[in-house]
Subunit: 419 residues, 4 copies
């Protein structure tokens, strides 16, 4: 079996939730150590130089401890567990070409999903014995394949440095929930001229590829906490400050926001939990709210108006409010020159039967944040889709990668890197 | 006919709305000039020394002009019209006793009501020819009688100065809507030791009196204006700032306030007008809101929370808000020592068949503000009720004073003043 | 001066509000009587056969009486005033061609607008002496020109009956507010195979024409009345049923409706008036609400959900609700075959410098209702735009027709009729 | 140690939550079997003849199973476990006097509370070794004492039947949360002429008693479930029916209810939980709501208006609603004749140092339902308070009964029964 396939299957057995990818990071790190050559100008960046851990949303110490415990138990060295603990599971690999030229970046997402993998024999990973060993977590979105592709690319580019400039791989935690890019430091994309993302599947069959995407709405996912004052609801309701009613008022007011003539927008109060007892004025309410727009500046405007509604409702009811970001993706704008270059690079790639300049991508991926940062610095980028038939949809228990897609992905990106 | 009755009937024919009582003030003023004796230490205060005209709520220039025009037409001298124009219709008369002693104050309200008086022959003022000559305005709450009583008292006390200290009469505009006391300057009650109010009727029959009242809720009446930004509702709703929705949200939130364990409270959004056209985001909303409490400090708390709701709702919708006071009365707390003195003073008053220490008064009268100011300065006060059977209820077209009540009122207050 | 220009200028001086176009209807009617030939198969339909007067929204008897009074004063015969009173100002003219063929319909709107026309000399109608004689009403949308064009067409087609089938002109009242088509009886379009509308201006310059339009949102304009029970807000609030709060709750809930993935929609609560006094539980609230969608079936869904919100809010507050339609336009779908025919008919029309198959029309016109009815019966239709430079925009005091557009309109429609 | 004290301490060690009192019921039942004499006319009623199990609110099968398992483990016979399982833990004991006369009823509540008892040595039950053996459940409201008193009374009255009529003890489950009386069948109080409740403590010191109470608000505790339709919040929000917003709207509308001139009322939405994910239109919301009034008929009116708000909000948002009662107590009106009789009966009771005709009781006890049922049938009742100093307040971990109160309670009620 090729290393490419072997890597993918090994990683498939050890899927880890976002920011808890300690085993995965250790696997990547050890491989990178064996492939990169610092004397050739290669480098690895980890830890606080990659992830702004203070900004990680909604992670509990218990989850972090559990992932560290599991990694140790699995045989990861205490040094590496320490290195990648506390949510610091991002790694950046820089590979130097043999001549001057631009820097190409590739975002590779590494997290699994909270899905219980199908254990019936008809499911290929089960049949072949590489089904997930971690209960209720599964690589159900193909990120195992993404890592394997990135490692194979590292091998090829370090073995043959005949390419201009440099190639940088950002191994990003927590793409699910669009949480990882948001907390990746700006330095990760500094100096990158062309930023790539690559995703398997997304509706394309094996043999089909897309050199770009369109249609992603920018999105922010937030948690609102409202904190008031408890009081006995019959004896002294006036002493309370009612967080439940503040949340109710805010929820209704928020729904007047997404009606605009200048953009397509959405807003949803997805969760509202408030109060503790029948005879107590509720002093706490938590709302999870997301909003989206097909224009970056409109999302920025929505963000301000969203905050104003929360603050206003809080003031009206005399409660305190905080808004914590849970996740973020921006509009994903693919640049035509990169699309053109990627289309041209397809020429030498075998196995591609059908290619699209751009495909519809109605979901969210936070690779958009990296691409936007590079664009803001004067660079360009695109999101490559490599088709990959699967028995079940993304995020389902029967999702599986058609492994013939993996060498196509490697060949294509290598061709782009060397062009 | 006695001057007392004659005054009352003349005044009854010329009722004027609050702050527009120019003819009334001129009538009072000329009479006071003829009765008071500055060499004996008497004085009259008028104009900006009585009323804080800047604080007068909701009066239009058109109303003021109309009242000035009417007064001139009726023969009031241009000097007096000028003196009492612009809402400055309050007058204070100070009458000096012949020996040292405390200052007793008497609030006398002078405004009429927006009621069309009954012109059928069964209505006594019509039958006897002194029905209101001013369309749609009527002395339907007995203030014409109050003024007549105050003038008669002035006559008796200036003719016979055998009483201690001084007697001060505050002729107050705009008691209806509890607007006049609020804008009367604090100087009006400075130095007053005992503050009295007197009202005819209020549910007591002729021959029945009450030396105090209980049960009045303190109240504030306000106008809220919310100002946003218009925009085309279909083309560019996002450019608008919706004052109508801000008002709707505020109205709902306000109704969570009057549920308390520490007091009996009320709140009502009585009027809400917003928006101008079907396809325009409404940029203006006006709400009239009143709130009440049976405790002064609870009203103060409600005032803060009311303001917080308005400001919060305004912030939530990105609109500006202002709150303008329309009227105010406080809790009316009658002091037992004054009640006792008033009960004792009844002894020499003929015509009284039944007396109560205190009677229930569920409505609002802003004499409470004067009494509270005096109490805050260490003084005391009460609200005297002089029964007065009427064919119709207060504020109705068939309301009428049983004139036998007038000498009872004069005798009673004179007895208090001389005691 | 040609009859065409003369008609337009005469009509311009007598603009009348929707459903009050008595003088206008009389003018049209008398001209039709003089042109049509019943022996040739022509006919005129008026009164209850055109307009369903029971369905006319929001008209007061005072308005109707005033328009009848004005028409009589202007010299319209009592018989014609009677004929066109009560909102029955619609007229249908049928002109028979000299051979069998399809029926072509033309909607001609006849109402003026509540705008005060510019009386400065720089405004052409003022300068030339045909400015509006009716205070605060103006032909500020070119309907005077539409009528003149229709009358000229009638003249040409009756003078030379060399055209197939028949030509039917629907003189429609109250296009402004999209009220007139909604109450025009279905019989008006029965038998019509091709339904045309024609509008001057709409952003096109003189010499420019459009054979169709796109982009109109379907819209419904409604008035909601909520009726509860008054009660004293302090003494017995529980006896009241609060229509103001019901309206506030409904307004907030309605704004959650126009967020959809299947269509572009809008909703606006443009006006909300509720309550009468500070200390009275408000028993009446009136809201004007409009909603729009770019799909007919989505508008139908919005209509149901809108009604559910109103009924639900009413139930929650124990008040009664009614929803009265104020106006309605549907999506305006122009059929390509008619557009093609109209484009071809342009060939012989002089003065046209630029032509478009379709132009953007972001506003609403209820000609869409007639076109939809014909389409529902298997026919087809389009909305013709004849460019017409104007110093001021539509609906403004300085709007004016470039009269060179009028013969272009006549020639074009005549060419279509004869083709 | 007396049986009275021994019973109390044994019961104290085995506190059970409401409707799960299987051990407690078995203990009572076996004692009753040993004391009652069917040949003398005594009887015991259990099971479905006492409790309407279908109406029990919010109990899960897991809780019921757990209590059955625990009772079996503790040595209760399978027959008795079966007898009292499924929430059927109510028991009625009828004791016959030796001569004709009225039936006196006594409600005895038997449930413990979800409180973890203080295990420090300073806590008397811990020090003396009878602290709760059941984790997180405690007799923290004195119901253990109530049962001991009732059993001692049974002993005395069966040993000496010198009393008129009959004495009926209703051992009621689930007084906490006012759930048990509500689901006790009406037959429990049929035929009762005088209904008594007895409670230890409630603010009175040992040696102090009250023959009645005042001040309890009637209350209903309910759970509202709103069920809509899930949909993707970005792709197809229009396919969803939003239960979260329906709940928010209802919560705000509900708070306009408790402002009344005819009664003192309260309403609280204590808990609101809605929604499952950020990008899903929430299809489920649960609210816990309680409302109170100091008048029975006002509570009935609130109940109707509460239901109207829920139904209206549900309709507005197109969701389904259900309202499930969680608990209920009515106003507790004590009849003066019974109070008089109880005061008189105190004469022979030793240990009473201070007695009140009535004491303030601001909390809720569902004995009010039994008393009301008897009153509705023409009988009368009262709630006896027997003072009982405690180191900690009711419902706290350090609550404890001053056992000297127990014989006072027994003597007093016995005296009433024999009078």
């Amino acid at each position: 079996m090729s290393t490419l396939i072997d890597d993918r299957r090994k990683l498939h057995q050890r899927p880890e939730p976002g920011f808890c990818e300690i085993e995965t990071a250790a696997y990547i790190y050890e491989r990178l150590l064996s492939l990169l050559d610092t004397t050739a100008g290669d480098s690895i960046v980890t830890g606080d130089d990659v992830i702004d851990t203070d900004a990680i949303p909604g992670l509990t110490q218990a989850q972090l401890d559990e992932s560290a415990r599991r990694a140790l138990e699995q045989g990861v060295s205490p040094e590496l567990v320490e290195k990648f603990s506390g949510g610091r599971t991002g790694i950046i690999a820089n590979i130097k070409g043999n001549r001057p030229g631009p820097v190409i970046g590739l975002r590779t997402d590494i997290d699994g999903l909270g899905v219980s993998e199908d254990e019936s024999d008809s499911h290929v990973p089960t049949h072949l014995g590489f089904v997930s060993q971690i209960k209720d977590v599964m690589h159900a979105c193909g990120h195992d394949g993404h890592i394997a592709v990135a490692l194979e690319l590292t091998k090829r580019l370090t073995e043959n440095r005949d390419f201009p400039g440099a190639f940088r791989i950002i191994f990003q935690p927590a793409e699910e929930g669009v949480r990882g890019a948001m907390v990746t430091k700006a330095s990760a994309t500094e100096g990158v001229d062309t930023m790539l993302g690559m995703h398997l599947g997304l509706g394309l069959e094996a043999g089909e590829v897309g050199a770009g995407t369109h249609g992603q709405l920018a999105t922010e996912k937030t948690q609102v906490e409202l904190t008031g004052v408890q009081a006995h609801a019959a004896m002294a309701p006036e002493q309370g400050r009612n967080a439940l009613l503040a949340a109710a008022s805010a929820a209704l007011s928020l729904h007047a926001l997404p009606q605009r003539g200048d953009a397509n927008t959405r807003l949803n109060v997805g969760v509202l939990n408030a109060g503790s007892g029948l005879n107590i004025i509720p002093n706490r309410a938590v709302m999870n709210v997301e909003y989206r727009a097909d224009k970056r500046e409109v999302l920025a405007d929505l963000k301000k108006r969203f905050a104003a509604v929360i603050e206003g409702a809080a003031q009206a009811y005399g409660v305190e409010s905080t808004i914590t970001p849970l996740g973020r993706a921006t509009t994903l704008v693919c640049d035509q020159p990169v699309i053109d270059k990627a289309m041209k690079a397809l020429e030498g790639v075998s196995g591609v039967e059908k290619s699209h300049e751009t495909v519809l991508f109605a979901a969210s991926d936070d690779v958009s944040i990296f691409i936007e940062r590079v664009q803001d610095n004067g660079g360009e980028g695109t999101f490559l889709i490599v088709g990959c038939s699967s028995p079940g949809p993304h995020h389902s228990a029967t999702f599986d990668i058609d492994e013939t897609a993996l060498p196509i992905a490697v060949d294509w990106i290598e061709a782009i890197a060397r062009s």
